[in-house]
């Protein structure tokens, strides 16, 4: 039993040059084959028109301070109050941070829930909670256990236009891995853009051709694939072949066709509009999100910025608040101008808020007992404030709201029936909202 493992003497076959054989043999017989089904017909046929609504998320990874942004406490002592002053907004009675002047101007479109809470104060489990609605991973077992709301939306609604990826993250999914599909299947994982849309050289890896490969060659490959990929699909009753064919075609179409590439191409946008969004990652990501949604993507999550401001919160916020503010406001106005605001839910949240009391390092720590999320568009009433925190921040004073309540609100607005269940790996039906109930005050 106590065998000491030695390296195996016989190694597996390493790569070597092949024997060269120049004779062909009449063996095997070619696959008879049906014609490759006309490219994306199948896909187009089941493109669903169930709901025309989509979702754009600003994910404040790390945890944004509620007290320096949406839920100001001007009357609290300075160590609670922070460094910013509140300013009035387009909605009488609602104030926000002076670093949110753009949103203040359009507050009649935006609503806040100031009483969101959950029971964890660590990044990873909290991110899971806010992304999926459920507590799940612990430090000893940090794998995602429930699908993200993005994947649920992708699964329930699919892309609005078949060729587009249903669920996109910009530039990538957040680092904890909780924006994925888990048991819903890899198909519903987000498509990661993989680049900074504000970069001069922005191109999407795996959408942009690898160096040395030209479009003509991709076209040639497409033709050749069509000639050879003739294995009879009916021998595979699990539809893996059919599925692969569909996705190969879709991938080729994304690479060679115009529709998808154009959606990812920001250079077509008017410079003035690009400026309005702001020439930074926040702004250009938001503009990209709008383009993708317009082209038929269902949900775009913008993971831009790291908000974990334990030390010296002021410089941190100075860096992040203005671009976030500009991006959100420009997006809302742009959607509104294009008549799309009622079709797109906009959601801004992170895994938690930050401590009402500043710490000894001029920062704020993790705080999940009461924090604010912002919702707008997609039929959500603007200019409302739901719930309230305690006098100087801290706990929930009015209307405790859970992550599942927020997620249920989003699903409800997107037209996903709240009774929907999906089976997990054990075959157990899992509710998409559990005990969550839409925040009626916003509807």
């Amino acid at each position: 039993m106590l065998k000491i493992t030695k390296k195996l003497s016989g190694k597996s076959r390493r790569l070597s040059r092949r024997d060269f054989i120049a004779t062909g043999l009449e063996v095997g017989g070619g696959a008879l084959g049906l014609c490759l089904p006309s490219m994306l017909q199948a896909d187009e046929a089941n493109g669903n028109g169930a709901s025309g609504k989509s979702l754009i998320v600003f994910w404040t990874h790390g945890g944004m301070s509620q007290q320096d942004t949406y839920d100001m406490k001007p009357d609290a002592p300075s160590e609670y109050r922070g460094m910013y002053l509140p300013i009035g907004t387009s909605v009488p009675g609602i104030t926000v941070s002076e670093r949110f002047p753009e949103q203040a101007r359009i507050m009649h479109h935006l609503s806040q829930v100031r009483s969101v809470w959950h029971r964890n104060g660590i990044h990873a489990p909290s991110a899971h909670w806010m992304q999926t609605g459920y507590f799940g991973p612990t430090l000893a077992r940090n794998a995602a256990q429930m699908p993200s709301f993005g994947s649920v939306v992708a699964r329930a609604l699919g892309p609005r236009v078949p060729l587009m990826p249903a669920y996109v993250t910009v530039p990538k999914s957040e680092a904890f891995g909780y924006q994925g599909s888990v048991y819903l299947g890899k198909r519903f994982n987000p498509f990661e853009v993989g680049g900074d849309p504000n970069a001069e050289t922005f191109k999407v890896p795996n959408l942009a051709l690898p160096d040395g490969l030209t479009l003509e060659n991709v076209d040639a490959r497409k033709q050749l694939l069509r000639s050879f990929d003739r294995l009879r699909k009916d021998v595979d009753q699990n539809d893996v072949m059919q599925g692969l064919d569909t996705f190969k075609s879709q991938a080729l179409e994304m690479v060679t066709g115009d529709h998808v590439r154009r959606a990812f191409d920001l250079t077509g946008e008017d410079d003035k509009l690009r400026d309005r969004y702001g020439r930074h990652q926040y702004g250009q990501s938001a503009l990209l999100a709008r383009r993708l949604i317009q082209a038929g993507t269902r949900i775009v999550t913008i993971n831009t910025g790291y908000w974990d401001h334990h030390n010296d919160i002021e410089p941190g916020l100075e860096e992040h608040l203005p671009p976030l503010d500009k991006a959100i406001a420009a997006l809302v106005e742009d959607l509104s101008n294009q008549g799309m605001l009622d079709d797109v839910v906009i959601y801004c949240a992170g895994e938690f808020g930050r401590t009402p009391l500043m710490n000894g390092h001029a920062g704020r720590d993790h705080w999940s007992k009461c924090f604010t999320v912002m919702l707008a568009g997609g039929g959500i009433q603007g200019g409302r404030v739901v719930g309230a925190s305690e006098k100087w921040g801290g706990g929930v004073k009015e209307r405790p709201t859970t992550p599942l309540d927020i997620i249920a609100t989003i699903y409800h607005q997107l037209g996903i029936p709240l009774g929907t269940h999906f089976e997990d790996k054990t075959g157990r039906p899992q509710s998409i909202v559990g005990s969550g109930k839409p925040v009626r005050e916003l509807l």
């Binding site: 106590l2 065998k3 000491i4 493992t5 390296k7 195996l8 016989g10 597996s12 076959r13 390493r14 790569l15 070597s16 092949r18 054989i21 120049a22 004779t23 062909g24 043999l25 063996v27 095997g28 070619g30 430090l139 940090n142 794998a143 299947g185 890899k186 198909r187 994982n189 795996n206 051709l209 690898p210 040395g212 490969l213 040639a220 490959r221 050749l224 000639s227 050879f228 990929d229 294995l231 009916d234 021998v235 595979d236 009753q237 893996v240 072949m241 599925g243 692969l244 064919d245 569909t246 996705f247 879709q250 994304m254 690479v255 269940h421 790996k425 054990t426 157990r428 509710s431 559990g434």
Partner: protein
């Protein structure tokens, strides 16, 4: 408003008073009526009407404030909800028909679940009587449902035929009764037959195989249904001829006989035997995870020995690739996981464990010994690598679920919180199995933010597990059998391993042979491979038995089992469909094609293009030329592998490895650097072809033989040659690009990616 409240309060008081008085006074006057038992009469009604299902009142939060015990697992719990909660307003003994319970059930009061029963139904009358009789509560005196019996056990039905199922319940007091109308029926497969709520089975398909799941109380069972595919008399005669010729003179330990018997029962004509190029590609991939080389294909095809397929399998089983390839499978099942915050520290352990697995397979260590060494492992990973299993498997649910799923083929998860809805497992079974691991101790090791690594595993002096509801200490117990009798010095894990590997264990050998059968044939006889239960019966019990008997008789010899499987008719068939087998997905009447696994596919690309994949790792960790099937854990960052379904190794479930197609796979094939850089290499296959002096025809023939393991057809070669030759005006320097295009197209085709 006040009046209303007052009224409610009054009626509540009244109801409470009545409950008491009825209990005390009315019993005698109703003695003529049979006493309605909550557990034995009411609970089945709640289940039959789906009231306590997971989508309705059975879910953890109940439905609109009314919660019942899920699937009737806990009668007292449901009783409390109905009788005591909501201020007693759900039942009204003074006027039973006014009870909210009944009014909701019949839809007389608005009910989200709609109308579940009519006023004239037996269910309604029983519920009403129970309320009138005074709401008898579940008691220890109630007869206990011990078993159910149903008939028929197996049925062969023609298309459009019907069959009535009857179910009888037997109780601890010796009584029995017909419970057909209260039993739950469901079909295991869609589209074969329909079963009505009162147990009438009606075939709706042209043929096939399935089973009806029967459930009453916590008892479950299943009935196999066979619907022979329709054939004309002439076709049948022909089929008989084919099948009887298959039956004569085969000596495949009953395996072939079991296959043929099944085809006979269902009147299925199996596909023709596959040709040699197909077989060598299939066997090389399935055994060694490696494509055959062009010369291997040629040599095999020209070999005239009638036993060449057996010889091929023997040869492949002696290749070190066999051990590496299957080590990946076991490293998945045994959760040899590398991911965490501190990979470098984990890699030592995962490598030791992977190498131990691979050595065990290379030495053909008997499977019973292999599993025992893992289960009973103590010491450090350097001395005893299988202790690394205890790194991923470290909590009470991990122990139970990993052991049950990996080695016994049972998914017992549900029984952690409630009686398993479709199997016999109770919480006592779950926690009894857990008790075998209550004394697993750990010390030392390096604890990073995730899971400690390099711990020493030892046996604690004490450790116990309690039943979560009764709080009773549970002795270590094997699954489904009485507890072990152990002295204080005995390691319960040794007893568990002994029980598991005993030749009469009903799960152990079955699970492994089914797992390997699924590996080679694309589907388990029990499917999914680790979901064995009465309600998910094997598609061919005789076949499972034959494989299992042989495996036990051969002392758990894995290679011998693989020889048996690879020598079976099923493994030698082509993929072709014919009218009688086109719908078949369960009798192995043709080979079901499947995509190569992620690691095998990446290796196939690397080997074919003669450009190794560079795996990121520490210095000297994965020298260039390392194959994907040699990677010890899943935490080697190669997007290709993740995109094509490499599992995260979080569960002891092969279901974690998936072949679901995704858009990312399409993009990886079409547009990734992984493939493009290999095509563009200055040393690889593509480059060599482009610069040699052979004719395009010769080069294209080689390409087909190398990638598909067969000769290209005339039509294929014509297209290929035309492309690589280019037009007259074409630039010579584009020639390599044209070879790249051709080879890419073949790599991206299903024929390359599939085992068939």
């Amino acid at each position: 408003m006040c009046n209303l409240l007052l009224n409610i309060r009054m009626s509540f008081l009244l109801a409470t008073a009545l409950v008491l008085s009825i209990n005390v006074c009315l019993c005698n006057s109703l003695i003529a009526e049979p006493r309605v038992s909550f557990t034995n009469d009411i609970m089945p009604i709640l289940s039959k009407s789906s009231c306590d299902s997971g989508g309705c009142h059975g879910k953890a939060n109940g439905q609109n404030g009314f919660r019942l015990s899920l699937f009737g697992g806990d009668p007292l719990d449901s009783y409390r909800s109905i009788v005591l909660q909501a201020k007693g307003r759900r039942v009204f003994p003074a006027a039973a028909e006014k009870s909210l319970l009944l009014r909701k059930a019949t839809g007389a009061t608005a009910h989200g679940g709609g109308r579940r029963m009519s006023e004239t139904s037996e269910s309604y009358q029983t519920l009403k009587l129970w309320i009138e009789q005074g709401l008898a509560r579940p008691s220890d005196q109630d007869a206990v449902l011990e078993r159910i019996q149903w008939s028929p056990r197996q049925v062969v039905l023609a298309p459009d035929a019907q069959q009535k199922i009857s179910v009888r319940a037997f109780y601890s007091d010796g009584s029995s009764r017909d419970v057909t109308s209260m039993a739950l029926f469901s079909m295991s497969v869609d589209g074969l037959a329909q079963v009505t709520t009162d147990g009438l089975l009606r075939v709706v398909s042209e043929g096939g195989l399935g089973s009806v799941t029967i459930k009453y109380g916590e008892q479950t069972g299943s009935m196999q249904l066979l619907v022979p595919y329709k054939q004309s008399a002439e076709q049948l005669r022909e089929l008989q001829g084919i099948l009887s010729s298959l039956k004569t003179g085969n000596s495949n330990n009953g395996v072939n006989e079991a296959l043929v018997n099944q085809w006979q029962r269902l009147q299925i004509e199996p596909a023709k035997v596959c040709d040699d190029p197909t077989f060598i590609r299939r066997a090389s991939i399935d055994i060694c995870g490696t494509l055959p080389t062009a010369s291997e294909v040629l040599a095999f095809v020209s070999d005239s020995d009638v036993n060449k397929r057996e010889r091929l399998v023997d040869r492949l089983l002696e290749q070190p690739e066999y051990a590496s390839h299957f080590a990946i499978k076991w490293a998945d099942i045994l959760q040899n996981r590398g991911r965490g915050y501190s990979t470098s520290k984990q890699r030592t352990g995962t490598t030791l464990f992977y190498n131990w697995i691979r050595d065990s397979l290379l030495d053909n260590k008997p499977y019973d010994q292999f599993v025992s060494e893992i289960l009973t492992a103590t010491g450090s990973q350097e001395i005893n690598p299988p202790t690394v299993w205890y790194r991923s498997v470290r909590t009470m649910p991990n122990y139970v679920e990993s052991v049950a799923q990996a080695f016994l083929g049972v998914r017992i998860q549900c029984a952690q919180c409630h009686h398993h809805p479709t199997a016999k497992w109770s919480q006592a079974d779950y926690f009894g199995l857990a008790a075998n691991f209550a004394r697993v101790g750990r010390k030392g090791g390096f604890a990073d933010a995730e899971v400690p690594t390099g711990e020493t595993i030892y046996l604690l002096d004490h450790g116990e597990i309690r039943h979560p509801k009764t709080q009773q200490v549970l002795p270590p117990k094997p699954l489904g059998d009485p507890p072990f009798e152990l002295d204080a010095f005995a390691d319960p894990r040794v007893a568990l391993a002994g029980w598991m590997t005993g030749s009469d264990n009903e799960y152990f050998a079955d699970t492994l042979v089914n797992r390997l059968w699924a590996h080679f044939l694309g589907r388990g006889i029990i499917h999914p491979v680790d979901d064995r239960r009465d309600t998910n019966p094997p598609s061919n019990p005789e076949l499972l038995q034959a494989l299992s008997d042989s495996f036990v008789k051969n002392k758990y010899d894995l290679k011998q089992l693989i020889r048996l499987i690879c020598g079976s008719y099923a493994y030698n068939l082509g993929t072709q469909i014919n009218p009688s087998n086109q719908k078949d997905q369960q009798t192995f009447s043709r080979f079901y094609p499947r995509r190569m696994s992620a690691e095998v596919l990446l290796d196939a690309v690397s080997l074919t293009l003669e450009v190794p994949t560079a795996f990121p790792g520490g210095p000297g960790e994965f020298p260039l030329g390392t194959r994907a099937i040699e990677l010890p854990d899943e935490n080697v960052a190669i997007a290709f592998l993740d995109v094509f379904g490499r599992p995260a190794r979080f569960k002891a479930c092969e279901c974690e490895r998936i072949d679901t197609p995704t858009l990312a796979q399409g993009l990886e094939l079409v547009n990734s650097n992984q493939i493009q850089s290999k095509l563009s290499s200055q040393t690889g296959f593509t480059h060599r072809l482009a610069v040699n002096n052979r004719s395009p025809q010769e080069n294209c023939e080689l390409i087909f033989l190398t990638l598909y393991g067969r000769a290209g057809t005339a039509a294929e070669l014509e297209v290929a040659v035309a492309h690589v030759s280019g037009s007259d005006a074409a630039d010579e320097s584009d020639k390599i690009e044209r070879y790249r295009n051709l080879i890419w197209a073949l790599l991206a085709s299903n024929e390359f990616m599939f085992v068939q």
